[in-house]
């Protein structure tokens, strides 16, 4: 198991290297001079030259890349052009908001999808199955950013019951401890801030989670359907167990493996989905930061963000692989 993970971990290094090269080349193939964009139109050649020198943009491309690699290895992606702060610091200040959003989205999705999937799968072709299947299909077909817009329109615009932008109302949140607002307000026993944070996060998390909800529901349903035919389920029934116990204790536990895979795979989709949902809700996370950075042609920040996202995605896949063995003792690496 450990040696397997080490091998997998070593395997990701060349992948990350190639990705960094790809991103680096892509960024430098782009039209438009970042120096002009940052300094504005009213600059003279000397100023441009000075700025290029300071940011190292006048050196040959391969030297720029090697320098970038050298510092990227220790998590240093240079200074953001736009924020004039170290890239990692900018990203780290925004990351908790994205993680918090993703976690709440996953919670919403799993809490709704798994019972619904189990319910639908254990009663094939019943009305609840039909309802669940339709629901699942709607979930996977829904463009999350459109759902985001529609949620804003309905719950915030017309009914006016929920806030539509940002993470908290100004002045309500206490001092930041962990950077996770909900966690912070629980730690500080600031219930008003907790409620405020929850009302802010609910709509974006729902919009972000809807695709995962649909997929999870469908996967759970089909996994349940498959397990329902196993011999040990017959045995459980034959020894006179209640159907409820059969489903939840014998079927669901064995159907969980594909479900976990999908949660893992969908985490990546969730990460990139957050880019667009965060933009709609003005959520101050790393996703909306990416769009800002792209529009400003902030090379170091974009590179840092893309690398962060990719590294997160690769490690999630790795963790999921490791989790299989925990969930299913039959799997040995």
């Amino acid at each position: 198991m450990a040696s397997y993970l080490v091998r997998r971990l070593a395997g990701t290094v060349p992948v990350l290297l190639l990705i960094s090269l790809l991103v680096f080349l892509l960024i430098h193939a782009a039209p438009g001079d970042p120096t002009l964009l940052l300094l504005g139109e009213e600059t003279n050649a000397a100023q441009v030259e000075l700025a290029k020198q300071r940011w190292g943009l006048n050196q040959p491309l391969y030297i720029q890349y090697l320098k970038f690699l050298q510092s990227a290895a220790v998590g240093d992606f240079g200074r953001s052009f736009k924020y004039t702060e170290p890239v990692m610091r900018v990203i780290m200040s925004r990351l908790p908001a994205t993680i918090e959003l993703a976690v709440v989205a996953i919670i919403i999705a799993t809490v709704l999808a798994i019972p619904l999937g189990v319910w639908a799968g254990s009663r094939p072709n019943s009305w609840i199955d039909n309802l669940g299947t339709t629901f699942g299909l709607f979930g996977i077909s829904m463009p999350s950013f459109w759902l985001a817009i529609m949620l804003i329109l309905l719950l915030a615009g017309i009914l006016n019951i929920l806030p539509t932008s940002g993470r908290s109302t100004y002045g309500v949140a206490g001092p930041a401890q962990t950077g996770f607002y909900i966690l912070d307000s629980i730690l500080q026993k600031n219930w008003r801030a907790l409620w405020d944070g929850l009302t802010h996060i609910f709509l974006p998390a729902l919009a972000l989670g809807v695709n995962m909800l649909g997929i999870l529901m469908r996967v759970t349903r089909s996994a349940i359907l498959e397990v329902m035919n196993e011999d040990y389920v017959q045995t459980a029934r034959a020894k006179g167990l209640q159907e409820k116990k059969v489903v939840w204790r014998h079927v669901t536990r064995n159907a969980l493996i594909p479900v976990i895979t999908v949660v893992g795979l969908e985490l990546g989709t969730l990460l990139s989905g957050s880019i667009i949902v965060e933009t709609v809700f003005s959520w101050p996370g790393s996703g909306s930061l990416l769009i800002t950075a792209l529009n400003a042609r902030d090379y170091p920040l974009v590179t840092g963000l893309v690398m962060t996202y990719t590294a997160a995605f690769v490690s999630i896949n790795l963790i999921i692989d490791g989790l299989y063995a925990v969930v299913d003792p039959r799997i040995r690496y």
């Binding site: 190639l18 790809l22 996977i140 459109w146 329109l153 997929i215």
Partner: protein
């Protein structure tokens, strides 16, 4: 686009099996009908649309939908452009982009997958490393990055969407080719002196078409959503071309004042994707129930 499995009615009980076929038909029929309507709207769009989608009528800005038979059945946008006409024209561009993406990525993915599986060895290793690298990007992120740096435009957009969408084809096709390679008809063809190229194009690829068709359906659904997402973020189709995504982008600042601006283009995306997914589900159940384990989904 990364779901591992997609549900299907696999229950083996006789009662369930009896009802399985009609259900399949309902799915296929509903999905097919929806897709057909939008394809027809796309083809005959210019003739069907009541007005020029880009004609600005500044005296009729932000008019609410007035119902069938009136001048602006679905209302007008912030520049007084007829929303019904824009939605119809939008289906043309959105579907064209999606079809192009599906065909190009299908071509690349099937070719590379077949080559990878057929030859094995170093060729296989190289192609699979490429797959691994491209697949290591979170979905959409690669598209956004490519678009942001290459600039807006239909060609770049198709490129950005193809960038990751050939992977599911490549993976599944490689797996199938591995098993096809050792089948008797391939050996027979080799004995008859067929070249590798002949074997791949005449004997291997025809056996991969059904599977690829199912992958293609789901790739189509994800392309439509991805195109809309990129256009919405302002890195997709240039803003002057009406697509469902650009319409949603235009609608963003009017969310609270004019509900019909974001409603109709979004509804079109949702219904089209729903239809395609229904069709894909039905196709997969019909052609190859095994596919549900191969990661071809949304």
């Amino acid at each position: 686009m990364r779901s591992l499995t997609l549900e299907s009615a696999t229950e083996e009980r006789p009662a369930a099996q009896e009802r399985r076929l009609p259900r399949l038909h309902v799915k296929a029929f509903t999905g097919g009908a929806i897709v057909l309507v939008f394809i027809l709207a796309g083809i005959f769009g210019p003739g069907l649309a009541p007005a020029d989608p880009n004609k600005q009528e500044l005296t009729a800005m932000l008019k609410a939908p007035q119902g069938i038979g009136s001048a602006h059945a679905l209302g007008t946008d912030n520049l007084g452009r007829d929303i019904l006409s824009r939605v119809i024209h939008g289906s043309r561009v959105s579907l064209m982009v999606a079809f192009a993406v599906v065909f190009v990525s299908g071509f690349i993915g099937i070719s590379l997958g077949a080559i990878s599986g057929y030859f094995g060895g170093k060729i296989d290793f190289t192609i699979q490393k490429l797959v691994e690298v491209v697949w290591a990007f979170p979905p959409l992120l690669l598209g956004i990055t490519i678009m942001a740096f290459l600039g807006q435009g239909l060609f770049n957009l198709i490129l950005a969407l193809v960038a990751q969408r050939w992977i599911p084809y490549c993976r599944v096709v490689r797996g199938q080719t591995l098993s096809l390679r050792s089948r008797d008809f391939v050996t027979a063809a080799q004995c008859l002196g067929a070249t590798h190229r002949q074997i791949i194009t005449r004997h291997v690829i025809p056996n991969l078409i059904q599977t690829s068709l199912v992958i293609g359906t789901f790739a189509m659904a994800s392309s439509i959503i991805a195109e809309a997402s990129l256009s919405f973020l302002g890195v997709g189709v240039p803003p002057e071309i009406p697509t469902w995504g650009t319409m949603l982008a235009d609608a963003r600042i009017y969310i609270s004042t004019a509900w019909w601006l974001p409603l109709f283009p979004g509804l079109c995306i949702f219904i089209t994707v729903l239809g395609i997914n229904l069709l894909g589900d039905a196709l997969r159940d019909l052609l190859d129930p095994r596919l549900k384990r191969t990661g071809t989904g949304i």
